[in-house]
Amino acid sequence: MPEPLLQAQALVKRFGGLIATDNVALDVMPREIHALIGPNGAGKTTLVGQLTGNLRPDFGTIRFAGRDVTRLPIDARVRLGLARSFQITSVLRDFTALDNVALAVQAHDGHSFRFLADVRRDRGLRDRAQEGLEAVGLGRRGETLASALSHGEQRQLEIAMALAGEPKLLLLDEPMAGMGVEESQRMVELLRGLKQRCGMLLIEHDMDAVFALADRITVLVYGRAIASGSPDEIRNNAAVRQAYLGGEAP
């Protein structure tokens, strides 16, 4: 059995008296889509925050690509190949779509302490950024300001930015949030296509998308992982149905 790409063990995070993450273990294999679901307030965002480095766990370890990254800052984890997209769209609004991706490419191009050469004439950078846009279906929107893109397009742009560094693992925090049915379907297709390129940890409320994409699902309730298994196992798990799916099969 290959080594997991990401492996969190015995994570605990407290906020005052509230235990937001309660002894959670979680792993993602290479080229696997592992979905993390749970009702609002289950602690998904807190857990993701610890994986990305925004929050430091009170207890437990996080290993990524064979290293202990528990104490590494956000940007160092990203450089190891742990990229993320945000729950609330997070693009550089006053940059064009192409410049957004170009910056993401630049981030993985070694240091950016280059003060004089014009990035707009940097063919290598522009070409790779353009490829990144095309990979998510934004090939013709390069010169548009990110703030002028539609909501769905901004989410696609986020994925392009996350992919630009050729990450080993993509952490997707509700990529379908706020999307219409059609946009969601396009995103599902996009993510399915990306499976060849990297592993994914998918946090999502849209159950159709989760069950269509996930190889494995972990259910988080009140900070604890109450179940983990294949979509079928989760669908038929009594505790999950009780706590989360409200007794109805999705």
Partner: protein, 322 residues
């Protein structure tokens, strides 16, 4: 998209630069020596404002202690000159290195804070330098110190008002050129990206702190250059050149001219000096004695600009292309 110099903004900027380039000839022809000294100060303060714009405009870092770097530049020249080291070849690099080192040190501390804390901590460090300089009894203390100008034997005589003006103007052009390159470089994009969305930049893998620190140090170096020139302009240094009022003036100049616009600091400095020069007599015309209170009018004017013309003077010249 028309060529940049064919837009109204471009034409006005080119005319302005041409006017500044030939200013000594004009002031000589019309025998207006005072105007040349005002022009010299405008050019020097423009260099300082451009350097502040690098971090405030492009980096979004509201440093309220920028005048300290001018002071450090000026005092390095003044102290060396008082100690008998008058060669500019030695003074100027020392002044800039000291300022860059100081900027790196206080940047490393203050860039860990955000928002109003950053403003306060940069102000605090600047006040530290200010009181340090007024405590230097051997170099004039509060009263300041008359110094002899830097010497560049065989190259340029800084006592020659016109030659000194042209030197300042050439250095302003060099500063503007560097800033224009910086903005569109890889470094500049990281700096501007971090202003736009710091968390996003970190999530892309940029150690934002290091880039901001480098920008802070670079801006400190250019501010020191302005301080060196200021000391040589009046052959005089004093703590007043780095009082918090001057730091505030610089922020006002950058906001007035247009935050994050390449030539904004130049427009802002000219406007600031014009207001300072002409508003008091104008108010005196309305009513004798009102001129003294010109800042009562200038203050609300700034508030209006901050609220309604967020791009400052630059935005009045038409839309900017990214």
């Amino acid at each position: 998209m028309p060529a940049p110099w064919r837009t109204p903004r471009g034409i006005i900027t080119v005319l302005l630069l041409l006017l500044l380039a030939v200013l000594p000839l004009l002031t000589q022809a019309f025998d207006q020596r005072y105007l040349l000294s005002v022009g010299t100060r405008i050019v020097i303060w423009s260099i300082a404002a451009v350097s502040l714009n690098m971090i405030l405009g492009y980096g979004g870092l509201v440093s309220f202690g920028h005048a300290a770097f001018l002071g450090i530049g000026g005092y390095a020249v003044g102290i060396l000159s008082a100690e008998g080291y008058e060669s500019g070849w030695m003074q100027w690099p020392v002044a800039i290195v000291v300022a860059v080192a100081w900027a790196t040190l206080i940047g490393a501390l203050s860039l860990r804070t955000r928002g109003v804390y950053f403003i306060m901590i940069t102000l605090a460090f600047a006040q530290l330098v200010y009181y340090l300089s007024s405590g230097l009894a051997a170099y004039g203390g509060d009263d300041g110190l008359n110094i002899s100008r830097s010497r560049f034997p065989g190259l340029i005589e800084l006592r020659d008002k016109a030659a000194f003006y042209w030197l300042c103007f050439a250095l302003l052009c060099a500063t503007l050129w560097f800033c224009s390159r910086l903005v569109h470089s890889r470094f500049g994009h990281v700096l501007r990206g971090a202003r736009s969305n710091e968390l996003r930049m970190m999530a892309l893998g940029f150690p934002v702190f290091r880039y901001r620190l480098a920008a802070f140090a670079i801006a400190g170096g250019f501010a020191a250059l302005a301080g060196i020139l200021l000391a040589n302009d009046g052959a005089y240094i004093s703590p007043a050149m780095m009082s918090w009022v001057k730091s505030g003036d610089l922020i006002v100049i950058v906001v007035l001219g247009g935050i994050g616009a390449l030539f904004g600091p130049l427009y802002g400095t000219i406007a600031f000096f014009a207001v300072e020069e002409f508003l008091p007599p104008l108010l005196d015309l309305l009513h004798r004695g009102w001129g003294e209170y010109w800042q009562i009018v200038f203050g609300p004017l700034l508030v209006i600009i901050a609220l309604y013309a967020r791009g400052g003077i630059d935005s009045l010249l038409g839309r900017r292309h990214a």
